[in-house]
Symmetry: C2
Subunit: 639 residues, 2 copies
């Protein structure tokens, strides 16, 4: 690692977005998603699956009060918790073990939204939730409603499956965001009190556990950034160093003997620093890898960073969908083996692509190489955006690259492949995660270090730094034109990411390195950039069995797809002509194709397939499934 190249992103509260495309998404999240979720968390949406989230906090607050008053409090067997829609005991904890995290994610989204667009009403709503949350905190700082409601004696006894440390992580992330947005410390203080308890509980000469679902590691680093308390950093590092050591803590806490390699699902099969392949639950994976990148950078830990690079390369080169999605298998919502990227069986969770963006950003902050934000951009413009309907009212958890509604209905192996976006789920991880990511998209545009400002994304926006005030006017998605206006305060280097598969033309001289164009800036400048927005036929490696003989269409970072609504049924019968004669119009792509005539007999003597000409219509992948249930495919056969 070269410390001179380290950089830090400019966070959302210092970036003003003024971008037609993104303003609309951000506003949709604010007006639709955040408002809807505010009600959903309180179970005020008729017909929706119940959240129980706020209800649990209110129950927990009552327990806390009774404890303070010295009253007796009930015990429910916390270790026998299971999700039960018809839980008969109304006073027990309801919902999933990670239910608390939903409100924390909501607060984080609200915080970013307030940074973009201050809204007194929204702030009042957030403050109301914060008050409720804080009332539920135990005297010692502990704050997880499952255990507070059900059994205070059992805290931290099942790190593997019960998400206390995960919920803490989201609490801390929400608290930091809310503090950054409003300057108010109430939730931050609550998070710090819980963090203090965790730091006092876990460590080398203390309890040796680590989170079953990672995020606390990354969150503790954020708390450290804001508070400067080194204990937080040390505990984050401890969690990473301790993870995967034998005997496995997850065996110890269950009183089992460690016999074999295990816990790949939790990335706890070996010490993170010795890992080189992305395995297990994809969201957990990228959350861990993000924290590993944080910790390796802060501690200058080359070995850990080398693990990060190996894992990154494994994802980028062998486990990444063209849409920036990860997690090929529904079993464990997990990474599969190298080059196993099925289109129709994919898991490709929205949350996993969000986590991949976190990982990418951290890698780029250690080592300026365009590949990180190339991947982040893929994830952002494809899988993340496809996670939300155009009206902001429904969501995909799973983002497949090929859908046949009949298969989703009749084939149990594809039951996770939804053909239309779903309303709020009881397990509502993706919608609030998506809300916080879109609301904080400003954080992913600029980064800086002592002598360089990096432009990583081409979103019309502005920021002020000690070197210059910089504004971007981007027509990137429309025509590839980007104008960067620099009000120079002192001389510095402006580094602009050159997107994947693109050239860069500029009005100013630059030097390219690792996919960034470096401009020497010593005066006010207006730099005109032109990127390649030509329509590209992209080939997926033929090592990926699902895609051999096929191609996908991209324009800039946007992956396109075919839908039945435009191209009729049986999309697999279509192919792309050798001379496609592409036309780009109103955001759609048209091309010459052929349609194979459907065969009558199941088996017959081979003859050349009969094909007729047709004009194919491609739409951006992120816009799919906005016209009801229908077939969709990203890949099309090539002639």
């Amino acid at each position: 690692m070269n410390r001179n190249l380290f950089s830090k992103h400019i966070s959302n509260n210092r970036v003003k977005i003024n971008d037609t495309f993104w303003n609309e998404k951000i506003e949709l999240v604010r007006s639709e998603v955040i408002s809807y979720q505010y009600l959903a968390l309180q179970d005020k949406i008729e017909g929706a699956e119940k959240s129980y989230c706020i209800e649990n906090f209110i129950k927990a607050a009552k327990i806390v009060k009774r404890i303070k008053n010295g009253e007796e409090v009930p015990v429910y067997p916390a270790d026998k918790w299971q999700y039960d829609e018809n839980n008969s005991d109304k006073n027990a904890f309801h919902g999933w073990v990670f239910q608390d995290s939903d409100v924390y994610k909501w607060i984080e989204a609200a915080a970013f939204s307030l940074e973009n667009h201050f809204d007194e009403e929204l702030k009042k709503k957030a403050d109301k939730f914060i008050d409720i949350i804080c009332c539920a905190q135990l005297e010692n700082g502990y704050l997880d409603t499952l255990y507070i409601i059900n059994d205070r004696e059992k805290v931290f006894t099942n790190l593997k499956d019960y998400h206390e440390l995960y919920c803490f992580g989201h609490l801390a992330e929400g608290a930091v965001a809310y503090y950054n947005a409003t300057g108010e410390r109430k939730l931050l203080d609550a998070a710090c009190r819980f963090a203090d308890l965790i730091c006092n509980t876990f460590g080398k000469d203390k309890k040796r556990g680590y989170p079953g679902h990672e995020i606390a590691e990354m969150a503790l680093v954020k708390l450290y950034d804001v508070t400067g308390k080194s204990e937080y950093l040390e505990t984050a590092k401890f969690f990473i160093d301790e993870r995967g050591k034998k005997p496995y803590y997850f065996d110890i806490e269950r009183g089992r003997k460690t016999v074999n390699d295990n816990y790949h699902y939790n990335q706890a099969h070996k010490e993170p620093r010795y890992q080189s392949e992305a395995v297990g639950h994809a969201v957990r994976g990228v959350y861990l890898y993000s924290a590993m990148a944080d910790i390796s950078k802060i501690y200058g830990d080359d070995e850990l960073y080398s693990a990060c690079r190996n894992i990154w390369n494994n994802i980028e080169n062998k486990k990444l969908y063209i849409t920036g999605a990860i997690g090929s298998t529904v079993d464990g919502e997990a990474f599969s083996f190298d080059y196993d990227l099925p289109n129709d069986l994919a898991y490709c969770e929205t949350c996993a692509s969000i986590g991949l963006i976190f990982f990418a950003q951290r890698m780029a902050e250690t080592e300026p190489d365009s590949k990180y934000f190339n991947v982040a951009e893929r994830a952002l413009y494809n899988t993340v955006l496809s996670g939300m309907a155009e009206d902001g009212k429904s969501f995909f958890y799973v983002n497949p690259l090929e859908v046949l509604p009949e298969a989703s209905e009749k084939d149990s192996r594809k039951r996770h492949i939804k053909t239309v976006r779903q309303k709020w789920f009881s397990c509502a991880c993706c919608p609030p995660n998506l809300a916080r990511l879109i609301s904080s998209v400003g954080s992913y545009i600029f980064s800086e270090n002592e002598d360089t400002v990096y432009i990583n994304q081409f979103i019309s926006s502005g920021t002020e730094t000690d070197k210059a005030d910089i504004s971007i006017k981007s027509e990137y998605l429309e025509n590839g034109k980007v104008r960067v206006k620099v009000n120079c305060k002192k001389s510095f280097s402006l580094a602009v990411r050159i997107p994947e598969n693109s050239y860069i033309k500029s009005s100013h001289k630059f030097v390219s390195e690792k996919g960034y164009a470096y401009f020497d800036i010593d005066k006010n400048s207006e730099i005109d950039l032109q990127f390649d927005m030509g329509i590209k036929i992209i080939k997926c490696s033929n090592r990926v069995r699902a895609n051999i003989g096929k191609a996908a269409i991209m324009r800039g970072p946007v992956v396109y797809c075919l839908e039945e609504a435009d191209n009729g049924k049986n999309l697999h019968l279509l192919s792309l002509c050798k001379e496609p004669d592409f036309e780009y119009k109103d955001g759609f792509i048209f091309a010459n194709g052929l349609r194979e005539k459907a065969d009558e007999n199941l088996y017959s003597i081979y003859s050349e397939p009969q094909k007729e000409k047709c004009r194919l219509k491609f739409i951006p992948y992120y816009r799919w499934a906005n016209r009801g249930e229908n077939e969709m495919t990203v890949y099309i056969r090539t002639e």
Copy 2:
């Protein structure tokens, strides 16, 4: 239905096989499979999973003795049975609920084997098992060791999941076969006593249930054939008529309310006569459909027969693998939806193809159309034969059309796809089923009615009928030549099946109808037949998404495949040239192919794939996986 066209197969005990290819298989089953299974059933194979089969019968016999002596007998909760390798109570029933059926299938295989090759030692072994079995029968005729050992009070209380009637079916089939082979009635009498109990228990004004796993229906028809007892036929008909009626018996026996369409898995979602699609567990399905064909023919039930035809057509035209395999999905080991025939996720159980042969034979006996034995032939020469290793020592349950060992190891969705044949399983349905089918292959060659003898398979063999003594000398697999020698006793019509995708040339005049060539015979004749054994490139309908742009190679009934052992890794990179210049040599097929160069990058701008010439080597599908673990594919891309 046209009664004049009805025919009946000439059973194995009347057919003498003298065929190089089949004699070897039959002898392998006799010398290897039947001997091995004899020991396996008694848990005398070191290192193999335990069967418990004979052990259970011995335990049950002890219980029967104690009951006779008026002694007290223990009760184990039969309704709480579960498969448990480490079942701690040694006196309880062990193994699967259908464990009894293994010895019955073994006896059936042994019976057929004795017909082919009388072997005093084998008969002694069978008689020993029969003695053990008969000692385990209760006074009232009941004979299922799970309930006899565990709880006599609970018999027939869980028809849905516990396989009493299934085990009875195999008992009856084994008993009929053994009686046909040896003329000895001991097991037949035991089966009849159990059948009498079943007939007295189930019926219109009695208990209204029906089997969860079908086979008793088909078996009762066989018992009727041998004994002439009409009650057996009536009960078989009752089981079929009652099945799927609402409220569902499977709900009634569990005290549930029937709310919705359910029990597709058991083909009990609606009355069989109203079914038109093959659904649910594939083995159960074809066993039921076979019985439906039996019953519709015997009763002249056109409606039921129409259901058989619809289901048959659904299988043949939409749910059949090129290898004669059925059951596309591991979930429920079941039929999937139309045209859903994945190669690499297939289930394709050996037993299901065996059951399909039963169904095909019965359909052909009602309506002479070559399509039935075309499918049976596909199943026989491909999926059935691939079920057994060339040394007869290991077996496939699942017969996929594409295998990547890495996927079977690392992808839990493909964990059922074994890359090498397995030794005896605790759930040993396929090996004994395969043994009985191969040993009885003589039953699938000839059928007859008053004026016609049908030749359905081209296996060197002879039979004597009242019309003529007929012998077949077949070089079918080698060169397509078949000579039929007829010693005529009276004039009749000889009908010879014309194989799918083949011409027929003959030394004698004939008339073709529905795929059979009809020869008028009124004197001793030697008919020389020539079938097309040219190598065929076969196209699977492009409605099957997995196979678009691909083809398979067949020669006669034999499907060929590519193995890594001959063609290197990454078989998916291979393609078949437009001018393949086929060569057939020593049972193998060689052809011109191309090999795509493996791509370096996961994603790149599309360019024409680079390919180099190669010579492909195809082996018969039934011979795959005899050289250790390696990749295999039936389908190859076409240029």
